[in-house]
Amino acid sequence: MHRFANPTQFMRIANAIYPWAAGLSVILFLIGLPIALITSPPDYQQSETVRIMYVHVPSAWLALMIYGIMAGGSAAFLIWRHPMANLAAKASAPMGAVFTGLALITGMLWGQPMWGTFWVWDGRLTSFLILFFLYLGYLALGDAFEDSERGDKAAAILCLVGSVNIPIIHFSVEWWNTLHQPSIVKLGGDGVKSTVDGSILLPLFLMLGAFTFYYFAVLVLRLRSELLAAKIRNARMSQVATHAAIDPAAEGRLFVDSARLPRASAE
Protein backbone atom coordinates (compact mmCIF):
# COMPACT_ATOMS: atom_id res chain seq x y z
CA MET A 1 0.00 0.00 0.00
CA HIS A 2 2.86 2.35 0.82
CA ARG A 3 4.08 2.31 -2.77
CA PHE A 4 0.93 4.22 -3.72
CA ALA A 5 2.28 7.12 -1.65
CA ASN A 6 4.63 7.79 -4.55
CA PRO A 7 2.85 10.32 -6.81
CA THR A 8 4.32 8.86 -10.03
CA GLN A 9 3.20 5.34 -9.14
CA PHE A 10 -0.19 6.59 -7.95
CA MET A 11 -0.82 8.64 -11.09
CA ARG A 12 0.28 5.79 -13.35
CA ILE A 13 -2.54 3.68 -11.93
CA ALA A 14 -4.98 6.63 -11.88
CA ASN A 15 -4.23 7.47 -15.52
CA ALA A 16 -4.72 3.83 -16.53
CA ILE A 17 -8.13 3.83 -14.80
CA TYR A 18 -9.23 7.13 -16.41
CA PRO A 19 -10.26 6.02 -19.95
CA TRP A 20 -12.14 3.00 -18.57
CA ALA A 21 -13.99 4.99 -15.93
CA ALA A 22 -14.82 7.80 -18.38
CA GLY A 23 -15.92 5.36 -21.10
CA LEU A 24 -18.04 3.21 -18.79
CA SER A 25 -19.67 6.29 -17.30
CA VAL A 26 -20.64 7.64 -20.74
CA ILE A 27 -21.97 4.23 -21.87
CA LEU A 28 -23.98 3.74 -18.66
CA PHE A 29 -25.43 7.26 -18.89
CA LEU A 30 -26.37 6.67 -22.54
CA ILE A 31 -28.16 3.42 -21.67
CA GLY A 32 -29.46 4.42 -18.25
CA LEU A 33 -30.94 7.86 -18.96
CA PRO A 34 -33.42 6.78 -21.68
CA ILE A 35 -34.55 3.86 -19.52
CA ALA A 36 -34.84 6.10 -16.45
CA LEU A 37 -36.72 8.84 -18.28
CA ILE A 38 -38.70 7.01 -20.95
CA THR A 39 -39.05 3.24 -20.91
CA SER A 40 -39.20 2.44 -17.19
CA PRO A 41 -42.76 2.28 -15.83
CA PRO A 42 -44.27 4.81 -13.40
CA ASP A 43 -44.64 3.58 -9.84
CA TYR A 44 -48.14 2.41 -8.83
CA GLN A 45 -48.16 4.80 -5.85
CA GLN A 46 -45.67 7.53 -6.70
CA SER A 47 -46.48 7.71 -10.41
CA GLU A 48 -43.87 9.54 -12.54
CA THR A 49 -42.11 11.08 -9.52
CA VAL A 50 -40.33 7.76 -9.08
CA ARG A 51 -38.03 8.95 -11.90
CA ILE A 52 -36.53 11.46 -9.48
CA MET A 53 -35.12 8.44 -7.63
CA TYR A 54 -32.78 7.70 -10.57
CA VAL A 55 -30.85 10.91 -9.89
CA HIS A 56 -31.59 11.25 -6.16
CA VAL A 57 -30.27 7.85 -5.03
CA PRO A 58 -27.05 7.94 -7.14
CA SER A 59 -26.33 11.47 -5.82
CA ALA A 60 -26.85 10.31 -2.24
CA TRP A 61 -24.74 7.21 -2.89
CA LEU A 62 -21.86 9.33 -4.23
CA ALA A 63 -22.20 11.73 -1.29
CA LEU A 64 -21.66 8.82 1.11
CA MET A 65 -19.07 6.93 -0.94
CA ILE A 66 -16.96 10.05 -1.48
CA TYR A 67 -17.05 10.79 2.25
CA GLY A 68 -15.93 7.22 2.95
CA ILE A 69 -13.03 7.61 0.50
CA MET A 70 -12.11 10.97 2.05
CA ALA A 71 -12.17 9.48 5.56
CA GLY A 72 -9.89 6.65 4.39
CA GLY A 73 -7.59 9.16 2.69
CA SER A 74 -7.54 11.42 5.73
CA ALA A 75 -6.68 8.48 8.00
CA ALA A 76 -3.82 7.39 5.69
CA PHE A 77 -2.59 10.99 5.60
CA LEU A 78 -2.67 11.44 9.39
CA ILE A 79 -1.23 8.02 10.24
CA TRP A 80 1.30 7.36 7.45
CA ARG A 81 1.59 10.90 6.04
CA HIS A 82 0.62 9.62 2.60
CA PRO A 83 0.54 12.80 0.51
CA MET A 84 -1.48 11.21 -2.30
CA ALA A 85 -4.17 10.03 0.13
CA ASN A 86 -4.56 13.61 1.28
CA LEU A 87 -4.60 14.86 -2.29
CA ALA A 88 -7.32 12.33 -3.18
CA ALA A 89 -9.42 13.55 -0.23
CA LYS A 90 -8.90 17.20 -1.21
CA ALA A 91 -9.73 16.51 -4.86
CA SER A 92 -12.90 14.64 -3.85
CA ALA A 93 -14.32 17.14 -1.37
CA PRO A 94 -15.90 19.63 -3.80
CA MET A 95 -17.52 16.74 -5.69
CA GLY A 96 -18.86 15.35 -2.42
CA ALA A 97 -20.35 18.72 -1.53
CA VAL A 98 -22.02 19.04 -4.95
CA PHE A 99 -23.57 15.55 -4.80
CA THR A 100 -24.73 16.01 -1.20
CA GLY A 101 -26.38 19.26 -2.30
CA LEU A 102 -27.95 17.47 -5.27
CA ALA A 103 -29.25 14.65 -3.06
CA LEU A 104 -30.80 17.20 -0.69
CA ILE A 105 -32.42 19.30 -3.45
CA THR A 106 -33.71 16.38 -5.52
CA GLY A 107 -35.01 14.87 -2.27
CA MET A 108 -36.92 18.08 -1.56
CA LEU A 109 -38.30 18.09 -5.11
CA TRP A 110 -39.47 14.52 -4.57
CA GLY A 111 -40.72 15.16 -1.03
CA GLN A 112 -43.03 18.06 -1.83
CA PRO A 113 -45.36 16.13 -4.19
CA MET A 114 -45.17 12.84 -2.24
CA TRP A 115 -45.01 13.93 1.41
CA GLY A 116 -46.63 17.35 1.03
CA THR A 117 -43.53 19.09 2.37
CA PHE A 118 -40.08 20.00 1.12
CA TRP A 119 -38.43 19.29 4.45
CA VAL A 120 -38.90 17.50 7.75
CA TRP A 121 -36.34 17.36 10.53
CA ASP A 122 -36.23 13.58 10.52
CA GLY A 123 -33.14 11.44 11.08
CA ARG A 124 -32.18 10.88 7.44
CA LEU A 125 -32.69 14.43 6.22
CA THR A 126 -31.03 16.03 9.23
CA SER A 127 -28.00 13.72 9.17
CA PHE A 128 -27.63 14.36 5.44
CA LEU A 129 -27.73 18.11 6.02
CA ILE A 130 -24.96 17.62 8.61
CA LEU A 131 -22.98 15.72 5.95
CA PHE A 132 -23.33 18.76 3.66
CA PHE A 133 -21.99 21.03 6.42
CA LEU A 134 -19.12 18.59 7.05
CA TYR A 135 -18.10 18.87 3.41
CA LEU A 136 -18.28 22.68 3.58
CA GLY A 137 -16.32 22.64 6.85
CA TYR A 138 -13.64 20.43 5.31
CA LEU A 139 -13.27 22.78 2.33
CA ALA A 140 -13.21 25.91 4.50
CA LEU A 141 -10.76 24.48 7.03
CA GLY A 142 -8.32 23.31 4.35
CA ASP A 143 -7.97 26.89 3.14
CA ALA A 144 -8.08 28.57 6.54
CA PHE A 145 -4.37 28.34 7.39
CA GLU A 146 -1.42 30.09 5.81
CA ASP A 147 0.60 26.92 6.25
CA SER A 148 -1.20 24.54 3.90
CA GLU A 149 -0.04 21.45 5.80
CA ARG A 150 -1.71 22.69 8.99
CA GLY A 151 -4.89 23.31 7.03
CA ASP A 152 -4.73 19.83 5.52
CA LYS A 153 -4.27 18.25 8.96
CA ALA A 154 -7.12 20.20 10.54
CA ALA A 155 -9.42 19.29 7.62
CA ALA A 156 -8.38 15.62 7.82
CA ILE A 157 -9.17 15.52 11.56
CA LEU A 158 -12.58 17.12 10.93
CA CYS A 159 -13.23 14.53 8.20
CA LEU A 160 -12.38 11.64 10.53
CA VAL A 161 -14.45 13.01 13.41
CA GLY A 162 -17.34 13.62 11.02
CA SER A 163 -17.25 10.04 9.74
CA VAL A 164 -19.33 9.09 12.81
CA ASN A 165 -22.21 10.63 10.83
CA ILE A 166 -21.99 7.99 8.07
CA PRO A 167 -23.46 5.04 10.06
CA ILE A 168 -26.02 7.46 11.51
CA ILE A 169 -27.14 8.36 7.97
CA HIS A 170 -27.25 4.68 6.99
CA PHE A 171 -29.25 3.47 9.98
CA SER A 172 -31.36 6.61 10.44
CA VAL A 173 -34.25 5.17 8.43
CA GLU A 174 -34.32 2.09 10.67
CA TRP A 175 -33.79 3.86 14.01
CA TRP A 176 -36.36 6.60 13.41
CA ASN A 177 -39.40 5.61 11.44
CA THR A 178 -40.51 8.89 9.89
CA LEU A 179 -41.18 10.12 6.35
CA HIS A 180 -38.07 8.90 4.52
CA GLN A 181 -38.52 5.36 3.27
CA PRO A 182 -36.11 2.60 4.33
CA SER A 183 -33.50 1.12 1.96
CA ILE A 184 -35.02 -0.64 -1.05
CA VAL A 185 -31.93 -2.75 -1.70
CA LYS A 186 -30.29 -4.74 1.06
CA LEU A 187 -27.02 -6.64 0.91
CA GLY A 188 -27.03 -9.62 3.22
CA GLY A 189 -25.46 -13.02 3.68
CA ASP A 190 -27.99 -14.42 1.20
CA GLY A 191 -27.15 -11.91 -1.54
CA VAL A 192 -28.94 -8.82 -2.80
CA LYS A 193 -32.54 -8.47 -1.64
CA SER A 194 -34.91 -5.85 -2.89
CA THR A 195 -38.50 -4.84 -2.29
CA VAL A 196 -38.69 -3.21 -5.72
CA ASP A 197 -39.50 -4.61 -9.17
CA GLY A 198 -36.68 -5.27 -11.64
CA SER A 199 -38.06 -2.69 -14.12
CA ILE A 200 -37.26 0.01 -11.55
CA LEU A 201 -34.05 -1.57 -10.25
CA LEU A 202 -32.48 -1.73 -13.73
CA PRO A 203 -32.36 2.05 -14.41
CA LEU A 204 -31.41 2.62 -10.77
CA PHE A 205 -28.36 0.34 -11.00
CA LEU A 206 -27.39 1.75 -14.43
CA MET A 207 -27.46 5.29 -13.05
CA LEU A 208 -25.62 4.22 -9.88
CA GLY A 209 -22.87 2.77 -12.11
CA ALA A 210 -22.80 5.85 -14.35
CA PHE A 211 -22.42 8.22 -11.36
CA THR A 212 -19.77 6.04 -9.69
CA PHE A 213 -17.56 5.75 -12.80
CA TYR A 214 -18.10 9.48 -13.42
CA TYR A 215 -16.68 10.20 -9.97
CA PHE A 216 -13.56 8.12 -10.57
CA ALA A 217 -12.95 9.68 -14.01
CA VAL A 218 -13.32 13.25 -12.74
CA LEU A 219 -11.24 12.39 -9.66
CA VAL A 220 -8.29 11.55 -11.94
CA LEU A 221 -8.63 14.94 -13.69
CA ARG A 222 -8.79 16.68 -10.30
CA LEU A 223 -5.79 14.73 -9.00
CA ARG A 224 -3.71 15.80 -12.01
CA SER A 225 -4.84 19.34 -11.32
CA GLU A 226 -3.94 19.17 -7.59
CA LEU A 227 -0.48 17.78 -8.41
CA LEU A 228 0.10 20.57 -10.92
CA ALA A 229 -1.00 23.17 -8.35
CA ALA A 230 1.59 21.82 -5.93
CA LYS A 231 4.27 21.84 -8.65
CA ILE A 232 3.39 25.44 -9.53
CA ARG A 233 3.63 26.47 -5.84
CA ASN A 234 6.99 24.70 -5.68
CA ALA A 235 8.27 26.41 -8.82
CA ARG A 236 7.14 29.83 -7.57
CA MET A 237 8.78 29.31 -4.19
CA SER A 238 11.93 28.17 -5.90
CA GLN A 239 11.83 31.29 -8.11
CA VAL A 240 11.36 33.61 -5.14
CA ALA A 241 14.16 31.91 -3.26
CA THR A 242 16.48 32.21 -6.27
CA HIS A 243 15.66 35.86 -6.86
CA ALA A 244 16.04 36.80 -3.23
CA ALA A 245 19.28 34.82 -3.10
CA ILE A 246 18.09 33.41 0.21
CA ASP A 247 18.56 29.86 -0.84
CA PRO A 248 21.11 29.22 -3.57
CA ALA A 249 20.27 25.52 -3.38
CA ALA A 250 16.85 26.35 -4.79
CA GLU A 251 18.42 26.07 -8.26
CA GLY A 252 17.25 22.86 -9.81
CA ARG A 253 14.38 22.48 -7.40
CA LEU A 254 11.84 23.54 -10.01
CA PHE A 255 10.51 20.04 -10.42
CA VAL A 256 10.72 18.93 -6.85
CA ASP A 257 8.28 16.22 -5.93
CA SER A 258 5.16 18.22 -5.13
CA ALA A 259 4.38 16.02 -2.16
CA ARG A 260 7.40 17.41 -0.41
CA LEU A 261 6.21 20.98 -0.68
CA PRO A 262 5.46 21.58 3.00
CA ARG A 263 8.84 20.19 4.02
CA ALA A 264 10.59 22.23 1.35
CA SER A 265 9.04 25.35 2.82
CA ALA A 266 10.41 24.50 6.25
CA GLU A 267 13.95 23.98 5.02
Binding site: S47, V55, F211, L228, A235
Partner: protein, 59 residues
Amino acid sequence: MDTLMNYLAMGGYAAWVWPSYGLATIGVVGVLLVSRRTLKTREREFEMLKNARRGGGQS
Protein backbone atom coordinates in the same frame (compact mmCIF):
# COMPACT_ATOMS: atom_id res chain seq x y z
CA MET B 1 -47.44 15.86 -30.59
CA ASP B 2 -49.95 14.94 -27.91
CA THR B 3 -47.84 11.97 -26.96
CA LEU B 4 -44.83 14.25 -26.52
CA MET B 5 -46.82 16.76 -24.45
CA ASN B 6 -48.20 13.91 -22.37
CA TYR B 7 -44.73 12.61 -21.81
CA LEU B 8 -43.34 16.03 -20.89
CA ALA B 9 -46.22 16.56 -18.44
CA MET B 10 -44.92 13.56 -16.44
CA GLY B 11 -48.39 12.68 -15.20
CA GLY B 12 -48.77 16.15 -13.71
CA TYR B 13 -45.44 16.02 -11.91
CA ALA B 14 -43.35 17.84 -14.55
CA ALA B 15 -42.60 20.66 -12.08
CA TRP B 16 -40.75 18.18 -9.83
CA VAL B 17 -39.24 15.66 -12.24
CA TRP B 18 -37.66 18.00 -14.82
CA PRO B 19 -36.02 20.39 -12.33
CA SER B 20 -34.50 17.34 -10.60
CA TYR B 21 -32.94 16.14 -13.86
CA GLY B 22 -31.99 19.70 -14.83
CA LEU B 23 -30.15 20.32 -11.57
CA ALA B 24 -28.49 16.90 -11.68
CA THR B 25 -27.28 17.67 -15.23
CA ILE B 26 -25.95 21.07 -14.15
CA GLY B 27 -24.16 19.42 -11.20
CA VAL B 28 -22.62 16.55 -13.18
CA VAL B 29 -21.64 18.60 -16.26
CA GLY B 30 -20.64 21.62 -14.17
CA VAL B 31 -18.19 19.68 -11.97
CA LEU B 32 -16.66 18.08 -15.07
CA LEU B 33 -16.26 21.41 -16.90
CA VAL B 34 -14.86 23.28 -13.89
CA SER B 35 -12.41 20.43 -13.18
CA ARG B 36 -11.25 20.35 -16.81
CA ARG B 37 -10.91 24.12 -17.03
CA THR B 38 -8.84 24.26 -13.82
CA LEU B 39 -6.60 21.49 -15.12
CA LYS B 40 -6.05 23.28 -18.46
CA THR B 41 -5.31 26.60 -16.71
CA ARG B 42 -2.76 24.95 -14.43
CA GLU B 43 -1.17 23.06 -17.34
CA ARG B 44 -0.72 26.38 -19.16
CA GLU B 45 0.63 28.09 -16.06
CA PHE B 46 3.11 25.30 -15.42
CA GLU B 47 4.28 25.37 -19.05
CA MET B 48 4.81 29.13 -18.78
CA LEU B 49 6.82 28.71 -15.59
CA LYS B 50 8.88 25.98 -17.21
CA ASN B 51 9.58 28.15 -20.27
CA ALA B 52 10.38 31.20 -18.12
CA ARG B 53 12.78 29.06 -16.15
CA ARG B 54 14.47 27.84 -19.32
CA GLY B 55 14.67 31.40 -20.67
CA GLY B 56 16.09 32.63 -17.36
CA GLY B 57 18.69 29.90 -17.43
CA GLN B 58 19.93 30.91 -20.88
CA SER B 59 20.30 34.62 -20.12
